[in-house]
Symmetry: C2
């Protein structure tokens, strides 16, 4: 069988499953991402076995993860997060969950490397989910919402930094010297990459936009920005960070450009994102094998989920209170920071792909992400915004 054969079947099935995910999500009143992962679980080896995690699915899902983080980066605005209090909320909200995850995994008997992965998976808040819940409730303009988004962006970056360390640990090459080195490379890449993008590449793209070449071929800017997204990913991976860190920084570098003659690359990336991020989330369900769930793993999952929520609630909530937010807003911020999403799942996927965590930990992390995401809107909607 040639590589190409079966591609149509896989693509149509993956997209069909994504659509079923939307239907399910709407039925159970959850975000589409949750529906996609759940239906992915259903059609994968866990239940129906209609599709397995083929090389093709893996490649397309990998493209999806890169495009996803690029688009998340595009929505990111520097000026919204340059506040010391957001940074403090994010920092405490990364350290506590990391420790909580690491210690919980250790308590359940997992070794050093898997425990580090669990800790790292617990660090990053899902901006997408939190923002969309607040938007649905018409609360995006509140002080608490701004704090959540600012801190969530910072803790995404901190989470990506933690991932860089985790990568080194997984490869067994972490020591004091390599900690310094990776920190140096990461900061250099984060700062250098985004400055290079913001100062130089942005200007070039805007200059190019008024050339006759851009008028003749309005699609070139879009190809160029996607090329940069993959180039940043490649560089990030080459220096020991993760590909998605690169994609995120590429997005951050390019978020604020408006072009006159060229096709809108922000719109274009969003269309790519619709197709490929859907496939990415479906694939997360496909690769998870529910057969790994025995009673021990289920208990681990429940404890870890509680730890994941409480460490964010106390870490971010108490820090918010310290910085002068009232009790209600502090609680909203704490619960608002609880949902884990794409970063947690990618961390889990990287661990699984590198063979340093097994299906038990992988499934636990994916389901933990799902559970935190399901819990948050319920708490915000039915309890916090009602009782206070």
């Amino acid at each position: 069988m040639s590589v190409a054969s079966g591609i149509e079947f896989q693509m149509s099935l993956l997209l069909f499953v994504a659509l079923l995910g939307y239907l399910l999500a709407s039925r159970i009143n959850q975000s589409a991402v949750i529906g996609e992962i759940l239906v992915g679980l259903l059609i994968g080896p866990s239940v129906l076995g209609l599709i397995t995690y083929t090389d093709f699915v893996q490649s397309i899902a990998h493209l999806g993860a890169v495009i996803l983080l690029f688009v998340v980066g595009l929505e990111f605005k520097f000026e919204e997060i340059y506040k010391a209090k957001y940074f403090a909320i994010a920092l405490v909200g990364v350290i506590l969950p990391w420790l909580g995850g690491y210690l919980t995994a250790g308590y359940f008997g997992f070794g050093f490397v898997p425990s580090v992965f669990v800790g790292t998976a617990l660090t990053a808040t899902s901006i997408a989910i939190t923002a969309s819940v607040l938007k649905e409730m018409g609360r995006l303009d509140t002080l608490a919402a701004k704090a959540i988004i600012g801190a969530a962006v910072i803790d995404d970056i901190l989470g990506l930094l933690a991932l860089a360390f985790t990568n080194q640990i997984a490869e067994g090459s972490l020591n004091y010297w390599s900690v310094l080195l990776i920190l140096f490379k990461a900061i250099l890449f984060l700062v250098g990459g985004s400055l290079f993008g913001n100062m130089f590449l942005n200007r070039k793209i805007i200059e190019f936009d008024s050339t006759s070449l851009a008028k003749k071929y309005p699609e070139m800017s879009f190809i160029f920005t996607m090329m940069l997204a993959f180039l940043y990913s490649m560089v990030a991976e080459a220096i020991g960070l993760s590909a998605i860190v690169g994609a995120f920084i590429a997005g951050v570098s390019m978020g604020n450009i408006k072009l006159k003659h060229s096709k809108d690359f922000i719109e274009g990336s969003d269309y790519l994102h619709i197709i490929f991020a859907s496939i990415f989330f479906v694939s997360l369900g496909i690769i998870a094998d529910l057969h790994a769930l025995n009673m021990n793993v289920i208990i681990f999952l429940l404890v870890l989920t509680i730890v994941a929520v409480l460490t964010k609630v106390f870490g971010c909530g108490l820090t918010s209170k310290f910085f002068g937010f009232n009790s209600k807003d502090s609680a909203v911020i704490g619960f608002g920071m609880s949902p884990r999403g794409e970063v947690a799942m990618i961390v889990a996927l990287i661990g699984l792909t590198k063979g340093v965590i097994n299906q038990d930990v992988y499934v636990t992390l994916v389901l933990m992400s799902l559970l935190t995401t399901i819990v948050t809107p319920i708490v915000l909607r039915n309890w916090l915004y009602r009782n206070f």
Copy 2:
């Protein structure tokens, strides 16, 4: 090395090469497609060897071919081609080139199956290239231009039909009975698929567009249409046609929908097309190995190119004259129908992938397509529209 590793490198390189293709195309005043294939030749094993035709490149290029024909189908309008004279022009303009290609290949000593592939590759006019040349010259509204586009669309369909037969021949399963069967299946699929799409799916998509689900998730229609594109491709391949025939018919079925609440899937497919069709054209250059070009092959190439142009010029031109076009318009139609493009190259690629043609024929067909495409605008611009 995991499958995922290297994907960023390949994607950024392929897109970078596509951009260089645009630059080259603009410099030599040709269409972007030609630039992309030429730079693909340069970076592939033919010259620099920076990238090979990996499984990943093959998968992505295959996606690109499907998306390309889907987008071509979307631009197609039934009512523009329902004219007997266009059908006659197209039919003669398919039969003569097919015979010309088949006989030329036979004369140069190629066997039956490769000769059939050469004949089939000579049938289909590239709508994209012809239309864009006429558009650049501001001649899209002329009678000749309308005849060219109408006939080019029909000869694309006839070419795809010829491809269905060619597929059967390549698999050694062609006899009188199978000719009838494939003709029956092809007509059933072409008519049935486009009617089903036009009558049923279109209505469903429009109905869906006004549901609350579509308002909540405006991206669902786009996912649905892309799913259909791959589903049609899969069905086409399953019944012995080619995947791209399915993608084309899927596009034809869905070209005329305007949605109010959903994201615009026509725009979305166009963005996918920008990235993936570029990669497809670059990959055509990568897979072609110029080392196959010896003196015999070069002579074959030149003769075949002349045959390709003359059979269209006389086949379409004389038929046009017969149907009452004046001499100038008939010549414009004849030369306007000469450029071969995506279909010829996909036919060549299928032959190569199935192992029924070798690099010598593959390279010849790709370069023949390029040459006819380069010749046409020159003739139209510098000679026909100047002298008459």
